[in-house]
């Protein structure tokens, strides 16, 4: 038996081969896409040459009986690490990513680019290569900047960039160097770097943070260790650092370092210790889903091959009669499976190339299949070999076991084991499809549930603009001008965008507070009009009305949320007082209490405690609400016009509150998108197999159908007869899948406090959907068989 004959067998059985190749190809392509994504996640932060030595400074902060872990650092840390920690080769202070609009000096159009403030040590730590300039001579002057090759190409095309000037809101910067683009799968994503000391000055001048304090954390810090470093010993030293520096016997704060290469996948902490989990959970989940899809595709091959066995039985009998050994036949069938797999692999590669861009859009990534990457080629080959082995093995051994005497006498091999296995595999396919579809429903219901919950603020018809220094200096005028346009209902300055409030602190005091009670409290700095613009509900007292609320009687004015009022007990009332630190002084008066609203965690059952300070100098945005009927574009243009009277170059786009809100569901949406994709693939592949099986089943029963029709059976009775067995298998699959789907969904929902209740309708809906799909898939063949001429059917045997 040569390859040519194997080819011929595949070509002469077109339907069978197409079903097999298509099923396997879809399975392989899906698995490959998932593996690409998994590879991307696993390589995150590992492509850096020194990835084993790069750690991030982290801090455990104790508030009451809770320990929170933050990846933050205070101002003086960097210098101390340089002076007293020889095992730390270098460290870099690092801001969070920020977006800035850059203009080439002398031009008008500005481009928004993502970048960071960092020390020049970052170049060596990240082994950055410079295509222009020399990293050793950068950042000598304050107004320096280094930019990525991508950014250089945007602004200067092929011209030299070094020495040229770029302008942004915070000043003018001379380009010191151009670095090679940074790979995408790393935490360190930036197109520009400005010396960190500039940010430090800014913080100091504006009083945004106490940059000299050990307890004011306002930056990130990365360290590169000497290769000999014992991390445990170093962490012991770091743990004592704040106590030493602040002369407190036991500080609430302790430093430690955490490997950067583990940050992405294993970044979850509980009680100050890594849980060994994090994003890896999602990655693992989808790895297994990919494997299941591949398995479903292999199951198709097995089922179609054994279902077709009667057609192949005669061939096996004749070959054995003329001397073929079983081992030879096993090889023949394995070869056929391999050839089908190779065809499927080629088709899968085409599918990967066709669908990768769409997949990238779906999961917001930039994956690429690369034929020069040995891991990709090898991975695909492994998937292929695995498929050929998984799919081909069982049919090869099953088919080759036919005894020539039986096949030549046309004795049907009793369905027995093979039929049971086939049925079992169909049940498996539909059980997996059920679970995936059901999980998809649950994910989307949960997202919808959280999106439609009472939020405590108004997300519709509200926009937020980043503000400039000039605007802050004239905050009251800006606000009045906006209100004067007649388009804006309310406007107010704010430090945070309402939904994401990542400033918090401890050490707050109020009368009658227990000494050992120290909750972590979130804080916002806002101006007059903010509470109204955000749409908060004022439960008691008053809102901020004037910019000088803070100065009137030497007592600052604050508004707190209901949660904090509850925590404070008796003191949590309008007219109550608060302070911070151990001086026993109270310097804030509570003038109002707002109802709780949802922020940071969209699935939290109860809000975190929050203080609003009347301090628009710390604001970063202005929030503005407008009438529902007005055109957002028109309002945006009008607002920008007003803002440009304060900062003529101002060109920022508005952020819409509902968009910011929707972005909070990024990770759930990602899981939802992937789950939808794989649920659809699972059911499509399963149906390809089912279609083939129903065709064979109808063919096998041709004579039976003919006899039944001669004896008076109607078309619908025949269709029912043929569909019945598949429906029964589907029902068995449901019985197995429902408890599993329940368990999986319930487990997934456990990580959300505000969540949907699992109810029978989800499962019934999934079951109905699958039943409908099964009926459509099988009825094509059943109807064809049922409407065939019975005289012919009887003659065929």
């Amino acid at each position: 038996m040569n390859i040519k004959q194997s080819f011929r067998i595949i070509f002469r059985n077109k339907t069978y081969s197409i079903l097999n190749i298509a099923g396997l190809a879809i399975g392989i392509a899906a698995a490959a896409l998932i593996l690409l994504w998994v590879e991307y996640q696993f390589n995150f932060d590992k492509a850096l040459p020194k990835s084993d030595l790069i750690y991030q400074i982290a801090q455990n902060q104790r508030y009451g009986d809770k320990i929170y872990t933050f990846f933050v650092a205070p101002g003086p840390l960097s210098e101390t690490l340089n002076e007293s920690f020889p095992e730390i080769k270098r460290n870099t202070r690092y801001s969070s990513d920020s977006e800035a609009f850059f203009t080439e000096a002398g031009r008008n159009s500005s481009v928004s680019m993502q970048g960071v403030y960092a020390d020049s040590t970052v170049f060596s730590m990240l082994s950055m290569t410079f295509v222009e300039g020399d990293p050793r001579y950068t950042f000598a002057r304050d107004n320096s900047i280094v930019i990525s090759r991508k950014m250089a190409e945007i602004f200067f095309k092929d011209d030299v960039a070094v020495g040229k000037m770029l302008e942004t809101e915070t000043g003018k910067y001379y380009i010191d160097g151009v670095f090679e683009n940074i790979p995408k799968n790393t935490t360190f994503r930036f197109d520009w770097i400005i010396p960190f000391r500039l940010l430090e000055q800014m913080y100091e001048e504006k009083g945004w943070a106490n940059v000299k304090s050990w307890t004011s954390n306002w930056m990130n810090c990365f360290v590169e260790l000497e290769p000999y470093t014992n991390v445990e010993v170093l962490n012991d030293k770091l743990a004592k650092l704040i106590s030493e520096k602040t002369n407190e016997t036991a500080s609430h704060f302790t430093f430690f370092i955490y490997p950067q290469r583990d940050f992405h996948l294993y970044g979850e902490f509980q009680d100050g210790k890594p849980t060994g989990s994090g994003y890896i959970r999602t990655v693992r989940l989808f790895f297994w889903i990919g494997a299941l899809i591949l398995l479903i595709a292999c199951v198709n091959y097995m089922n179609l091959a054994t279902a077709r066995s009667e057609k192949r039985a005669l061939e096996v009998g004749v070959r054995k009669t003329f001397g073929a050994r079983r081992s030879g036949l096993v090889w023949q069938f394995l070869r056929e499976a391999s050839m089908i797999t190779i065809a499927a692999l080629l088709l899968a590669i085409a599918l990967i190339y066709i669908f990768l861009p769409a997949f990238n859009r779906l999961i917001f990534a930039n994956l690429a299949f690369d034929f020069t990457n040995p891991y990709h080629v090898l991975g695909l080959l492994c998937v292929g070999v695995l498929c050929a082995f998984l799919a081909g093995n069982y049919p090869a051994f099953y088919l080759s076991s036919y005894l020539p005497i039986n096949t030549l006498k046309k004795l049907k091999k009793k369905g027995g084991a093979a039929a049971w296995i086939r049925k079992g595999l169909v049940v498996f396919q539909f059980a997996v499809s059920f679970i995936l579809i059901c999980a998809t429903f649950v994910i989307y219901l949960q997202i919808g549930h959280a999106q439609n919950r009472p939020l405590g603020f108004i997300k519709e018809n509200t926009m937020i603009f980043p503000i400039t220094e000039e605007m802050k200096m004239h905050s009251e005028t800006v606000r009045n001008e906006l209100l004067n346009t007649g388009l804006i209902k309310h406007a107010g300055f704010t430090s945070h965008n309402v939904i994401q409030i990542y400033s918090n602190g401890g050490g707050y005091q109020w009368p009658d507070k227990r000494d050992d009670f120290n909750p972590l409290i979130s804080m916002m700095f806002v101006g007059p009009g903010f509470i109204e613009a955000a749409g908060f509900t004022l439960l008691e007292g008053a809102s901020f009305s004037r910019i000088d609320d803070a100065d009137e009687d030497g007592m600052g004015k604050i508004v707190i949320n209901r949660r904090l009022a509850e925590i404070m007990g008796e003191s949590g009332r309008v007219g109550g007082f608060m302070g911070q630190g151990s001086d026993g002084e109270y310097y804030w008066e509570i003038i109002g209490i707002i109802d709780d609203f949802v922020f940071n965690n969209m699935y939290a059952e109860e809000s975190e405690p929050l203080i609003l300070f009347a301090y628009p100098n710390h604001a970063n945005y202005i929030i503005a609400s407008y009438e529902a009927g007005d055109s957002p574009a028109e309002v945006q243009a009008k607002v920008r016009n007003v803002l440009q009277t304060f900062s003529p170059d101002y060109s920022s786009d508005a952020l819409f509150m509902d968009e910011i809100f929707n972005n909070m569901f990024y990770s759930e949406r990602l899981i939802g998108s992937l789950a939808t994709l794989f649920a659809v693939l699972a059911i499509v592949i399963s149906c390809l197999g089912l279609f083939g099986l129903s065709a064979f089943s109808a063919e096998q029963r041709t004579k039976e159908i003919g006899i039944r029709k001669v004896l008076g059976a109607s078309v619908s009775q025949i269709v029912f007869l043929l569909g019945k067995s598949f429906m029964l298998l589907t029902l068995i699959a449901f019985a197995i899948a429902i408890p599993v789907a329940w368990f999986v969904s319930d487990n997934w929902l456990k990580s959300y406090a505000y969540k949907i209740d699992l109810n029978w309708a989800i499962f019934a809906g999934t079951a109905l959907l699958i039943i409908l799909i099964v009926i459509i898939t099988t009825s094509v063949q059943s109807i064809r068989a049922a409407t065939a001429d019975p005289v012919k059917s009887i003659k065929t045997e």
């Binding site: 038996m1 004959q5 011929r8 067998i9 002469r12 005669l314 061939e315 009998g317 004749v318 070959r319 054995k320 009669t321 003329f322 001397g323 073929a324 050994r325 079983r326 030879g328 005894l403 020539p404 005497i405 030549l408 006498k409 046309k410």
Partner: protein, 232 residues
Amino acid sequence: MINITDLEKVYRTDTVETLALNKMSLHVREHEFVAIMGPSGCGKSTLLNIIGMLDQPTAGSYQFNGIEVGKFNENKRSDLRKANIGFVFQSFNLIDELTVFENVELPLVYNNVKASVRKELVEKALDSVQMMHRRKHFPSQLSGGQQQRVAVARAVVNNSKLILADEPPGNLDSKNGAEVMQLLSGLNEAGTTIIMVTHSEYDARFSQRIVHMLDGKTVTENFLRELAYVPK
């Protein structure tokens, strides 16, 4: 060549036990052409399958060329079968996916004959049944008579010493049936031993000896003529 003594074959299902061969004895000389006749279910085909080593006897002795083969395992039987025995079936049993040439070539492939030699032998065999011009056709493109001639070519291509034929003209019209019987007679005259199961008195008359079976054993034997083979 074949010595069968007190052969028994019992088929068992969960509820029924059927005695297909009941102390059957048969001796076939080399170069002989034996026809086996009898009503349906008398055990003819079972006997043929055991002689062809496709099946094993339950009891008794079966010697092939002096070797006791009744207890051989599947691989040993397969080796002995592929080297010595050719088959012609009532329903031709050609493989649909293989061409005429490849179908005839099959026994040679399994006997590890070199490709160049195979081509020569297959062409010779196809020539002898006048099917050379159809060598690239698939079975479905041939008439029944042509298919059976291809099956005969396949049975002889390996120069088998024994051909087992199970109602070879059974699915053919009388003209094509007669042609196939002529082919088998010619092979026998050239020295091939043939054992043929048939219902047809007419076909049986091509043989030298007719064995009548009933209920799994021989009831009569009729010697029609002497061996046709004349050693050169």
